[in-house]
């Protein structure tokens, strides 16, 4: 309701709907988006597709600001989407913000 009109922000859920150190999946035709929540309540959004073999990052273990892919344990930096060295690759990021306890995502 308080959605800013000028930006394509989409309310997806309340922060508390995402488990601490966990994630939720936002379904989308063009590929699901994984929305992560860290211990410090920071929220990140990445395309739910590991740059290695397309594993669902949303199903990985979240630690610090990193998620470990459940398929072959690549570590992906939540803020940048980049795989941690020595692995190389990048998962697409989506702008995300939290306002009044609600999570907004800018899909495009």
């Amino acid at each position: 309701m308080n959605m800013p009109v000028e930006k394509p922000w989409l309310r997806v859920c309340a922060v508390d709907d995402i488990p601490l150190l966990g994630s939720r999946v936002v379904e989308r035709d063009a590929g699901n988006v994984a929305v992560f929540r860290t211990a410090a309540d920071t929220v990140f959004a990445l395309l739910d597709r590991c740059p290695h073999k397309a594993g669902p990052l949303s199903q990985g273990i979240v630690h610090g600001e990193t998620v470990t892919c459940p398929l072959h344990s690549w570590n992906i930096d939540l803020a940048s989407g980049e795989a941690k060295a020595p692995d190389v690759g990048c998962a697409r990021r989506f702008p995300v913000k939290v306002e009044n306890g609600d999570v907004y995502l800018a899909l495009s």
Binding site: L10, D17, L20, E27, V33, Q59, I61, G64, H72, L107
Partner: protein
Amino acid sequence: MAQQLVRRRGTGLNLPRRRSNKVKESIMKKLKLVVVGNGMAGIRTVEELLALAPELYEITVFGAEPHPNYNRILLSPVLAGEQAFDDIILNPLSWYADNGIRLHLGKTVTEIDRVRRVVVADDGTEEPYDRLLLATGSSPFILPVPGKDLEGVISYRDIYDTEAMIEAAKTKQHAVVIGGGLLGLEAANGLKLRGMDVSVVHLGDWLLERQLDETAGRLLQKSLEERGLAFLLGKQTAELVDDGTGHVAAVRFKDGGEEKADLVVMAVGIRPNTTLAESAGLHCNRGIVVSDALQTFDPRIYAVGECVSHRGVAYGLVAPLFEQAKVCANHLAQLGIGQYKGSVLSTKLKVTGIDLFSAGDFIGGDGTEDIVLSDPAGGVYKKLVIKDDKLVGACLYGDTADGAWYFKLLREGRTINDLRDTLMFGESAIGDAGVQGQSRAAAMQDSDEVCGCNGVCKGTIVKAIKDKGLFTVDDVKKHTKAASSCGSCTGLVEQILMSTVGSSFQETPKTKAVCGCTDRTHAEVRKAIREHHLLDHKAVYDFLEWRTPNGCATCRPAVNYYLLSTWPHEAVDDPQSRFVNERVHANIQKDGTFSVIPQMKGGVTNSEELRRIADVADKYHVPMVKVTGGQRIDLLGVKKEDLVNVWKDLGMQSGHAYGKSIRTVKTCVGSEFCRFGTQNSTQMGIELETMLANMWSPHKVKLAVSGCPRNCAEAGIKDVGVIAVDSGWELYVGGNGGIKTEVAQFLCKVKTADEVKEYSGAFLQLYREEAYYLDRTVHYIARVGLDYIKAKVVDDAANRQALFERLLYSLEGLPDPWAARIAGAQKNEYIPIKAIA
């Protein structure tokens, strides 16, 4: 003030606060770290420090040599013409620039002003420090004999000496190497390959007397003689003779003999470089004296490497230096939890084609026994020294394929009772040789595959080790992916590391930390949880001072298991610390779908269940229905959001086919139908599976019950195998049909079905309480020994009953996870958010 508070509460993003913190950080002055010594120990410490605290220091490095950090261990291959100098550079100049390190090359630090906290170099350069790291290394020891300063007399220490030898070999013919130690022999071999006539003069009675016993030393001498080297043993150098022009002409010995020489290489030992430290008033005693934190007597000054004396020992090999670097970096990073306790050494000679290896106390003495294999004609000699049922030393010549393995046994200090008969024949003899039994990494072709999981061949690994300067198995895993999946080729990777980098090889020590988040071992974590009644993750991380706020994907599942198994019904299970399979209670597949395996106790089902399974397969369009190896039915390709409904429609319990948990009890038809069956094995299996339902464990646990010794249920490769005989039941433990097939070992024989449950339950509880996370029963038994298991489970009835009761207590009242989720538990986990545009 009030305004500010309101404003902060209003910003959901917290962005302004974070930004202001960042600004503060960059304004905050960094501490100054000055490193004196640009060699392997100093730079390794800097690398470790950058990994831990990249922003803490402004780093300055002084190097007396005009080169960036290079791999001193590989000077011998350079001398032998097998590698070029560029090949052995570890940190190119760009590395220093990339990490913002100020590098002073070709400058020797001559003074430390501890009052002003400034170091001064020979050209007048001054650098202030908050912390100083001394890594000044060592110098070759020069015999104090007449003629030691003549031209043509050199030592063998750095690339300058190596190049001098290469030059000399072009014009000179007769080389004498004084010193028959590792360095001397490598120098002699290199000069021989460069075309010189080489004699080695050695004071001792045999070569490498600190690394080899006499027999092996003689074998080595023989094979070096076959390569054209000459040896003068038991000779003491008296004088180097001048040819009249200030150049060396010969070496004269105490006994009067002489050996012609136009190049003399002194390789009689090294001496820690302590001049700088001593002039600054730091306490030195055959090295700069440091504490277990690598701290000198001045708390602002640390020291690592060959210049150091730690607990009275100065190390000259690279592995200990790296261990020191790790600890020192930890303290420089102000974490303060590392402790260096000294190193067990192993040695390898880097002369291509000659294999020798030694470690520990290979001479032996009072209270030790030797196992010796000697085949002088075949050029093979092996001696293992055993004390109190433990391997304490090894000396191998000719066949060193098992060096890494012996070194591991030695460092682990485990009892070798069970291996004694086959110990001499190496790791392959106990069937632990990695993929397809290959145990000789050196004999493998570059194109041979080492890691079958990730398709990594030997050449790739060797190249990565050389190009990237890797020294540990973990490094190799990270960079090549070899041994990073199932891990069965770890031994082979260790061997390749060893044969590629020689004595610089760093064995993964037994006191291996759980992961990079901590220096604590699995044993220490378990102990802390038990002794301090820690009940949740935060308590563990706080109490043990984890480096990360909430662990990582490696330690969290381990800690979660330790909490639950130590404090059942008390500790808090954290679903976010479980691997997806255990969180979702289904097995993730490569496309992100899941597989569903309902429980079928003992592999017994009925028409009702089969009908429901068929209906579910139709209703949810299950792409594949498959019979598993554990006598159950697998529905593959189920979408996550369908899981709960699938379970509901199945009306069956979870088969736990996805967890580090009880899996299945495989059975044969037994005496009910089979004409050979001696007991009702099917019923026994069902009872065991009922008893163990919902049991979490360090790794998966599989059981089998066979009705007769024909063993149709394949009980010989299960964690607990039960085989019925006419007079009762035989129990076997520690079998494994997976990565490396292991035959289960006989535990005991019991009479009744209740005893089967009590004994196997007690064994599994012991495993649950003591094994490290991700150890199968076979690994656990290998660590503690079968005798220990028998003592705890078979011989001590009271302990067995206590174990069994603890098992039953921890399983009591655990709900079937599928039923719990049908009832609404963890609902959000399964429901995706629909995006409404």
